[in-house]
């Protein structure tokens, strides 16, 4: 008995999905840029191959990152993925070892019990059956969790599970049916033949005690095959496409392919790799502080996959990057969102089933250019010569204490510097970029670049992490760009400024654009340790919070911003520090309005701690004046 009609649905599904995966991969590969194609080729046949296999094992099967974030949720994902993998692996081996022939077609191992109902009575066979039952039990335990999660999201630790589309629902049902139907099919067969181990065997003999097991088994084998077939055929249309896509993505990423700033195959792959696990929703402050639960990255990815208009989702985001850190698949969510902001409104895709399976490249409405911003009113830039340029940034001018502190520090260091935006400057361009207007941002970038280049300076110091990020990433400058925290650290280490110790208990809030956005975590903390006692908070480094004042989000109201700020400030000042320190004028202003704890920029603390050389007249006049609050 080597064939039965019930295997047809499974076979159709399997061969369909294999062919589809190959075709889709080829299409993605074709759409990659030339460099990326080379990278992938080199990566696939090179050293990164090992890394990719390891990552696939750890993340796609074991789900290490989800396990770390949430044990129960991780277990759910692991039991389904890793369990299924084991079931296939050992099922294939089983068919190979115990079957009538070697190199069997897949259906023989999947439906092994049907074709070998007598198998598993004694010795190695029985032990193997026990092992197979154990794997099935492992999967079913995860499945129970998944069902509970779908019904009551709280149980698996999630605040909100992502909403489903009808097709997802059918696919989900077929996925859920796969393992119970296998359990019942195997149990009935085992019951009829008196085989099977602790799970299928026990269940089988119990069922056989009051049901005609032999007759009951066959429909369940059909159900098993049908649910597998249905799941495979629907898979490309649902979020379960993440299973094959993630493998491709891991190879691409390990070969050095990055999101970059244009939409393309890699962005598309990332969107398809999202499993909608919802960790990004949990990480999002808009969710837990402002009650906005429909714009998180999982929804964005879904929107991109479905070619929906995602404009409302795309722009309602703080661009803080917290979700990037939490994403177990490692999708570069914020860069993908940035690309979407740039792209504008998508043209609705053509309808039809073929289009659903092969959506093609997304198209966007092209903008009429006349209504676009223009900055031709700017005068031609003029700047003097200097070694070091100090660019305070727009926001710093609204926090004059930071600006004055930086002037005091720079004056005290004796460095020859020029304060280029002392009377205010031209915006760095990042706010425009965050609004998706790259071309216009480019105008401002060129303007500022000219000014910086003409000065002949070697170093550009800025107080604003927003400016810092764009100076480093999007300006073509032959000059070292540092944030003032980095520069102050340099001044301290070179002995150019001397500091006293302030005897204050300080916590540090990492600004998004400086920390997650630019990778500067250590320097500000090192500077703080020079002048004060630095306490740890629950939200350090990659896990730092957004202050809520972000220019990344243009959609939320003042009240929502304030509620994010209050929650963040409360979390950071839990241990009642003397000072909540940060290194961004926007964070400072936002947090200061939300807490009674004093909020200071590290520049202010350093300026306060600075020990001035005692020789009168050596420093500039402004420095000689003592600045103290008016006390009357």
């Amino acid at each position: 008995m080597q064939f039965d009609p019930f295997i047809i649905p499974f076979n159709i599904g399997l061969y369909f999905i294999v062919i589809y995966a190959v075709v889709r991969s080829v299409m993605w590969f074709r759409d990659l840029s030339r460099q990326d194609k080379l990278r992938l080729q080199r990566g696939f046949f090179g050293r990164s191959f090992g890394r990719s296999i390891r990552e696939i094992f750890m993340e796609s099967l074991i789900h290490r990152k989800i396990l770390k974030a949430d044990l129960r949720l991780g277990y759910m994902h692991m039991s389904l993925a890793f369990g299924w993998f084991l079931l296939i692996l050992f099922g294939t081996l089983e068919a190979d070892i115990f079957g009538s022939s070697h190199l069997n077609p897949p259906y023989k191992s999947i439906f092994f019990k049907f074709f070998n109902p007598d198998h598993g009575r004694t010795g190695l066979e029985a032990a193997w059956s026990f092992w197979m039952d154990l794997i099935l039990a492992f999967i079913l335990s995860g499945l129970i969790l998944a069902v509970i999660k779908r019904l009551t999201p709280k149980v698996v630790g999630m605040k909100k599970t992502t909403k489903l589309r009808p097709l997802d629902r059918v696919a989900l049902t077929s996925l859920w049916l796969i393992f119970p139907s296998r359990l019942l099919a195997e149990s009935f067969t085992s019951g009829a033949y008196g085989t099977g181990s602790f799970l299928t065997g026990s269940l089988g003999s119990w069922l056989a005690s009051f049901l005609p097991a032999n007759e009951m088994a066959y429909p369940f084998w059909w159900l098993y095959s049908l649910s597998l077939g249905t799941f495979f055929v629907l898979l490309p249309l649902t979020r379960y496409m993440h299973i094959p896509t993630e493998l491709f993505l891991i190879f691409a990423r390990n070969s050095g392919i990055r999101t970059g700033d244009k939409a393309g195959a890699f962005t598309e792959m990332q969107a398809y790799s999202c499993s909608s696990c919802g960790l990004c929703i949990d990480a999002c402050q808009l969710n837990f502080s402002a009650g906005i639960t429909n714009i998180q990255s999982a929804y964005l990815m879904k929107g991109i996959r479905n070619r929906e208009s995602v404009t409302d989702i795309t722009f309602n985001c703080l661009m803080c990057g917290r979700c990037d850190q939490k994403c177990p698949v490692g999708i570069e969510l914020t860069p993908v969102r940035m690309i979407q902001r740039r792209s504008g409104e998508p043209v609705p895709p053509e309808k039809g089933i073929i289009r659903k399976y092969f959506p093609g490249k997304p198209e966007y409405r092209t903008d009429t250019t006349t209504a676009r911003p223009s900055y031709n009113f700017l005068p031609s830039p003029a700047a003097g010569q200097a070694e070091v340029l100090y660019f305070a940034g727009c926001m710093t001018h609204l926090a004059p204490s930071i600006r004055n502190s930086m002037v005091k520090i720079l004056d005290a260091s004796g460095v020859r510097y020029k304060f280029i935006d002392e009377d205010g400057g031209v915006c760095c361009g990042r706010p425009l970029m965050l609004a998706g207007q790259d071309k216009e941002a480019r105008e401002l970038i060129n303007y500022n670049s000219q000014l910086i280049r003409r000065s002949g300076a070697k170093k550009l110091v800025t107080s604003c992490p927003i400016c810092y990020k764009i100076f480093r990433e999007s300006y073509y400058l032959d000059i070292e760009v540092v944030h003032h925290s980095q520069y102050i650290k340099y001044l301290i280490e070179e002995g150019l400024i001397r500091l006293s110790f302030l005897r204050k208990r300080v916590v540090y809030h990492t600004p998004c654009d400086l920390g997650r956005g630019s990778g500067v975590y250590e320097e500000p903390k090192k500077v703080l340790k020079h002048v004060a006692q630095l306490l740890k908070t629950e939200f350090e480094d990659e896990n730092s919070l957004c202050c809520g004042g972000s220019l990344g989000n243009m959609k939320i109201s003042q009240r929502q911003k304030q509620s994010i700020a209050s929650d963040a400030a409360a979390a950071l000042t839990k241990d009642d520090p003397d000072i909540l320190a940060t290194s961004c004028p926007l964070c400072k202003k936002t947090l200061a309005a939300a807490t009674t704890t004093k909020v200071s920029d590290i520049a202010e603390l350093v300026a306060e701690a600075i020990v001035l050389p005692g020789i009168p007249g050596i420093k500039s006049g402004r420095l000689a004046q003592k600045k103290e609050p008016v006390s009357l």
Partner: protein
């Protein structure tokens, strides 16, 4: 009809009834905080663009609300979206979004006209 009596110079008036205030209505619908502006001028005082050219968000806001779009249509393009105005606004008006929406509205207006 024979013209008789004093003639008022039409251009002197904001013809409130005849003006098209759909741009402002569009912004109201998407960004309700646009309504609560009290014309204090804080945005214009701190404005980065305003240092270089005649640009007052306060002025543009009130003109849009009155349906006087001709000046606004071009002027609104000059904002750099730096966000200082959002930071100083005492009424919590989401000024950056107001500008983004105004641009969107004028773009749509133009697309429809073409």
């Amino acid at each position: 009809m024979e013209k008789f009596g004093f003639t008022l110079l039409k251009a002197r008036f904001i013809d409130y009834d005849a003006n098209d205030r759909s741009i402002a209505e569009f912004i109201y619908s998407k960004e309700p905080s646009f309504r609560v502006c009290i014309e204090c001028g804080c945005c214009a005082a701190t404005c980065t663009t305003g240092k270089y050219t005649r640009f007052s968000l306060r002025e543009l806001n009130i003109l849009m609300k009155r349906g006087e779009n001709s000046l606004v249509r071009n002027k609104i393009r000059e904002c750099m979206l730096c966000g200082k105005c959002t930071l100083v606004c005492p009424r919590g008006v989401n000024t950056r979004n107001v500008i983004a929406l105004a641009r969107e509205a004028y773009r749509k207006e133009q697309d429809n006209a073409v």
